[in-house]
Symmetry: D2
Subunit: 276 residues, 4 copies
């Protein structure tokens, strides 16, 4: 059986020694190990895949004895449970529904929450519950409270903003720290804000891109997980760019989720450490 | 013999007909033709490569009769004459000197102008004159006047800013409209300004890039010719990013110059039309 | 109203002139024009987008008078009608069904033909007929005859082989010249044949790719439309490579179809001419 | 002070523990650690960067006590000493000479050996000795013997074949196992053999690439270090492809050498393990 441990610590000498001692005691063989020290912040990040027969909880208990002040996370390769938020655009949701249906990504979609009705039909084709929570005639706080009520019905690991075009409040975000992933419609930090493809067209860029990131207080400023781009030419209209951009967005989101759902991503302040 | 015509016009019906009539009259065969209309601005751009025996000046005279209000440019595939401006970094200059030496780019470097002495030795290895024009103890205007004086010794088609870290005045730039090409140390419009790689590091981006563009009044806002990127990871320091960035910069500049020096680039306001 | 003409001809002087004359006579304005001469074969390819009010059939009739020996194709931007062939893998079909549902590609899927039953459910979710034509206990000829019978119920422009793992006979292919598009599970011409990802793994490549091409007599040798790659590392197993490869395959197929369905692709022997 | 250890071992439990114990005993802090097990071959690869004050030879002696059967390599970040072999093409050599001059790569070029005279002038511009060893009127064995004699004057870590267009004998190669790096003019395993760009042109590919690899008995079959590609279109001639290919070749070679010279590459049979 294979486990993956993710360990985050204040850096000090001997951490690898003490961790590997525990693993050896428990008869575990390390088959892939990645470690990185952010020397500026003196933070230690380690991801270790082991094989062998052992009670993971016993291992964690021993690790806690040895490196008590560290954050230790065990991943049993269990699929992550996910709620998806959408607005009106289908492309990221479609891709996630297909990947969910065919187990192409290490996750289960528990539900989709939308502030429009138009993606209900698509969602329900795949036997996933769709919750329509309109923003009409209510404040953002009221809207977020309705979302929170709905979320209480689900035990989820992550919320994925799959082209959810509302800005979540700091209060909402702080309830789910490191658990919300967004796809941003441009190559951050360029073209922050509305109509990025129109902005890109006006500027005459030769490249457009997308960025997937964890959501912190500010929608576009959280730790970046994955970015990619495609090349474009003068012959593309703003509408063409938006269309091409949708393909980049959906691919970037899928790549970022793959990394997160395989427990390869650590958050380090406003950055990510990724062991591929 | 092959010629290339570049024609820019206010769009109207019949332009292709009238142009192709002149070419046919002169016994020329069109072997590659690209045309694009910027319909917002109602501008017509055409690039046509022809083969055949004809006096190009006679052809241009006839074209002027037919489409008098158009800008008509003849390119005989003659290498472009270029003056290169540098500051202290060698990587773009090195690449251009090598390409010049081995005729890998359709250009001749006439001279290099630097505001430091350190690139003289490299430049002179390749028998290219190096003009040291210091900025010390003089105003920007005085510095630019010294540059202009030096430029008067050369009949050049283009000025290439190969990591020239001074901002040229509007006045200087307006003297050489569409003739100055710059390499910018980031993927515009992200990270405008100083220390882009430090900015990129702080932001934790997963991609860094570079942008080559024509220089207009504002150093970083001219029509973009070429952009490219590379992927990076958390393990790169700001210094690593700068080093990787240098490779991108030199490749982006070479690609942009290749397009310009093969007469494939039109300027359309703050954008470029590129027929590859 | 906009039309697109695609013209293929033996090259001779005056073609552009005679074509543009007809367009002008009919009051049409050329808004995008691309032309290329394959000088080795002396073949002329032209794609021209025009705007204006005219009877396209009248225009074609006049073009035939003027350039009689040429192949002239009119595209009214009408979506292409398509039959999709599949075997067992879903990823390309899923992508096409989603794009069909949301009109993200200029096509209509008329039907899906599969030699397994497993993709029926997915296909029918999107109200597309699924025809199961097993290969069991019959010869290839018999199987192809059954397919041909089914195809007779549809007026289609293209057949798309979306991971159809059977080799079509020369006879079958010759019935649909230039009308069958395949996605090949590797970066041709590397790793032709079975288990390309295992081959790639054994060879330790750092890049894997996919190729979309028109099908000619030999499944893997037709004119290439689009290719792309992703970078991989030593830590990927053959199974991981196959999984990553599926994403490349589906993206490459979608990009190729976009080009073909927007009438941007000409076939020139075993190559394609593509005006983007 | 920072060291890097590279350790290759038959896999067994407790290796990380025993290694990290030695490092801790010696007061060393692990700042970056990568480990990978090739489970098919049961081989363990580890690269560890440490900081601290210690006598590396003492550390290695202790490591040998602990994990005696392993291959242990210490890298003190000292630049690698390199001899470059060339034939007639300049582009890879030019790039290496520039990087050597400006310390852009962790290496020193000791000498260049060429079977033509034409690259002498370029090499000597940079004060590097150039040895002309012609192949005329002598057998391959005689030629290789002359090369070996010249090599005896240099204490080198690596030989770089920078477009050396001769096939080295098994005998020669076996003298320098894992020490010869070649740049191959195509995206292996496609287009093996002569005139790859002509082959690519004839096939109408939309991508061309290059491969850097260690040389084993067969010139094109050694462990791949780095590969990259660029996209091309129908409008490129075989000559254009060759020219574009040169830029890819030189970039791929530089990227591969960067990895090798920073001690990030392990050889694992006919593959490489690379910890970036």
């Amino acid at each position: 059986m294979n486990f993956t441990f993710k360990i985050t610590c204040t850096d000090e000498k001997g951490l690898v020694y003490r961790i590997s001692e525990v693993l050896l005691e428990n008869g575990l063989n390390i088959i892939k190990n990645d470690e990185f020290v952010d020397s500026k912040k003196s933070l230690f990040f380690m991801r270790t895949e082991v094989e062998g027969i052992a009670d993971p909880n016993k291992v964690i208990a021993r690790l806690k004895d040895q490196i008590g002040n560290c954050e230790i996370e065990l991943s049993s390769n269990k699929p992550k449970d996910v709620v998806v938020f959408v607005t009106r655009e289908h492309h990221c949701l479609s891709d996630l529904l297909i990947r969910n249906q065919f187990k192409d990504l290490n996750f289960n979609i528990l539900a989709v929450i939308g502030n429009y009705e138009n993606l209900r039909e698509l969602t329900e084709k795949f036997q996933i519950p769709f919750h329509y929570i309109s923003t009409e005639n209510i404040t953002r706080d009221e809207h977020e409270n309705l979302i929170k009520e709905t979320l209480q019905n689900y035990e989820f690991d992550y919320v994925v903003l799959a082209k959810f075009m509302r800005i979540l409040s700091s209060d909402f975000v702080s309830n789910f720290k490191g658990k919300i992933i967004n796809i941003h419609h441009s190559f951050l930090p360029a073209f922050i804000g509305a109509n990025p493809y129109k902005q890109a067209f006006e500027r005459g860029v030769k490249i457009i891109g997308a960025t997937a990131h964890f959501v912190t207080n500010d929608l576009d400023e959280g730790p970046i997980i994955y970015q990619d781009i495609i090349k474009v030419t003068h012959s593309k209209t703003a509408k063409d760019l938006a269309k091409l951009g949708r393909d980049v967005e959906k691919n970037v989101l899928a790549n970022a989720l793959k990394l997160v759902f395989e427990d390869k991503v650590f958050i380090d302040g406003n950055k990510t450490i990724i062991f591929e």
